[in-house]
């Protein structure tokens, strides 16, 4: 009994540690004055000002549009590549997997500077395109890594059976392989999206004149003091994520209810 309380207290402390800065940000987004240490009164003015803050609105626009394009492009390219890699054998497969793994294990700063050197060597103009390409470059490996395990589990005979029954290879791909690896594709898409939205280091080295994202804006403000409008924007964004997650969870719970009950019986 005592143990149960101890573990509750322990988890409580961990969560206080994890959520303290988030609560501080959310609370101070409602603060009347610009000060970040003193509470002077409740106000919604930073939320209203958010609509007039040109820098932040532009950065938000770039962050979201790059994240959406990155997620779509890298999911499509990653899925096609994963299907191909899965069919490879031996040395060729090992080599492509290792190179693919490089952006995952490399420190972000090394990926960032190596892409910067590449763009300069090819005389490319820094801006939206360089940032977008960089985001796609580091996202595809994660998409591939989340789809490959699903492809490995896939029963080869199913595709063969489909084709024996008269399906063309493309039809078999669409009707047999894709539905089976769908969970991996969805995970990959979400990962690409969140990695892109949250990235700072790689964007920092590949950004161009006039094109920034939220992380870069926050970084450039951090020393002088971040404008409370950023707090307001982040509070809105986190609330949206939270609501989306609760919605998805509710829907899944409804679908898996029977499954879950069986599972919990097994555990007992």
């Amino acid at each position: 009994m005592v143990k149960k309380y101890l573990s509750k207290i322990y988890m409580g402390i961990i969560f206080i540690f994890l959520y303290a800065p988030i609560i501080v940000l959310a609370v101070f987004s409602f603060n009347e004055s610009k000060s970040r240490g003193n509470w002077t009164g409740f106000s919604l003015k930073w939320y209203i000002e958010l609509f007039h803050d040109h820098d932040i609105r532009l950065a938000f626009y770039y962050t979201i549009s790059i994240a959406i394009i990155t997620a779509i492009v890298s999911t499509i390219m990653g899925t096609i590549a994963a299907i191909g890699i899965n069919a490879m054998k031996g040395r060729q497969k090992a080599l492509i997997l290792n190179v693919n793994y490089l952006p995952v294990v490399n420190p972000d700063i090394v990926t960032g500077i190596s892409l910067m050197i590449l763009y300069i060597s090819f005389n490319m103009d820094f801006g939206f395109n360089t940032m977008l390409i960089s985001h796609i470059v580091f996202s595809i490996p994660y998409v591939i890594l989340s789809i490959l395990p699903k492809l490995k589990q896939l029963d080869v005979h199913m595709t063969e059976a489909a084709m024996d029954l008269g399906a063309t290879p493309m039809y078999a791909l669409r009707k047999v392989i894709l539905p089976e690896i769908k969970p991996g594709i969805i995970t990959g898409f979400l990962m690409a999206f969140t990695l892109s939205i949250d990235d700072f280091i790689i964007s920092y080295f590949t950004k161009g004149e006039g094109v920034t994202n939220l992380s870069i804006v926050i970084y450039s403000m951090a020393r002088r003091g971040v404008r409370p409008t950023i707090n307001a924007l982040s509070t809105i964004m986190l609330t949206v994520v939270l609501l989306l997650m609760i919605l998805i969870n509710k829907r899944n719970n409804g679908q898996d209810k029977s499954k879950k009950i069986n599972q919990s019986e097994v555990y007992k």
Partner: protein, 280 residues
């Protein structure tokens, strides 16, 4: 069928040659050439960039980065293991909620969360105001090495909790009962059964915390002030401020080698071959 399917990967092969292999090669090329090399005709090879790095001032920065990252990783493990253990022993209906609560903070911009710690730790920050309210003296917490370590623990601890949780929840509960039936007390069960079986998770966690920690440059810059220059800060400074790409590239190569070396050491202990990918 299978043979033809592999052509699907060929466009991606071209892609990774251009955007992964070639940039890495260029960094390597910069690290072994002099600043005066402009194009193929004037290229001059040198080992000067690497030799420069082995001077005490730069080596100290390297050791310090490894030390700070190692301390942060150890604290993450000490705090994260019990948390993962508690979550894995919670009733299944509440387990997902707890896991979700561990991941949720990562959806808020990392820079912003780190910045919020400046608000909390600063000399006129929330903690110090609270201390003053209690009649305690103010502490100098921001811009210290301790603040850097705390920032790293804060940002990376979910990467420790999740893989350990995965390893613990995959564990066959029957083994615990068997050990119990055979007369092992709780401590022995933990030491001889639970701990060894959770080792793959611990190893993934250590890799996933140590790697970003050793190369970070935002956290020491925001929370450590000028006191903790880490290897990442040095690379950033060389590329953005000094424009010394050759020396910066040499340090990047050293960083890559450290990461690859620590990965291969860790993989030796790893029984489960899937490595860090399992987290997802």
């Amino acid at each position: 069928m299978k043979d033809r399917t592999k052509y699907f990967a060929y466009p991606y092969m071209v892609w990774i040659i251009i955007f992964i292999a070639l940039p890495t090669f260029l960094v390597l090329l910069y690290s072994i050439t002099t600043k005066e090399s402009n194009g193929l005709t004037t290229i001059q090879f040198t080992s000067e960039n690497f030799r420069k790095f082995f001077q005490p001032i730069y080596l100290d920065i390297l050791w310090d980065s490894i030390y700070l990252a190692a301390v942060s990783t150890a604290i993450c493990l000490l705090l994260g293991y019990p948390a993962a253990y508690i979550i894995s022993n919670t009733h299944i209906s509440r387990r997902n909620t707890l896991l979700f609560l561990c991941i949720l903070p990562m959806w808020m911009n990392m820079l912003l969360r780190t910045y919020a710690w400046m608000t909390i730790l600063g000399n006129n920050g929330i903690l110090n105001n609270f201390f003053a309210f209690l009649g305690l003296p103010r502490f100098n917490m921001l811009y210290t090495r301790g603040a850097t370590v705390m920032g790293m623990v804060y940002n990376f601890i979910p990467f420790m909790i999740l893989p350990i949780y995965t390893a613990l929840s995959k564990m066959d509960k029957g083994l615990l009962e068997a050990a119990d039936d055979l007369g092992a007390d709780k401590k022995t069960v933990f030491r001889k059964v639970i701990l060894p079986l959770s080792m793959p998770g611990v190893i993934s966690g250590v890799i996933m915390v140590f790697m970003p920690a050793v190369s970070t440059f935002i956290i020491p810059q925001l929370l450590g002030g000028n006191k903790s220059m880490m290897i990442g800060n040095l690379v950033e400074k060389l590329f953005i401020l000094n424009g010394d790409w050759n020396f910066g590239s040499a340090i990047s190569i050293v960083m890559m080698l450290i990461i690859l070396l620590s990965m291969s050491i860790m993989n030796k202990f790893d029984v489960d071959k899937e490595g860090g990918a399992r987290l997802w």
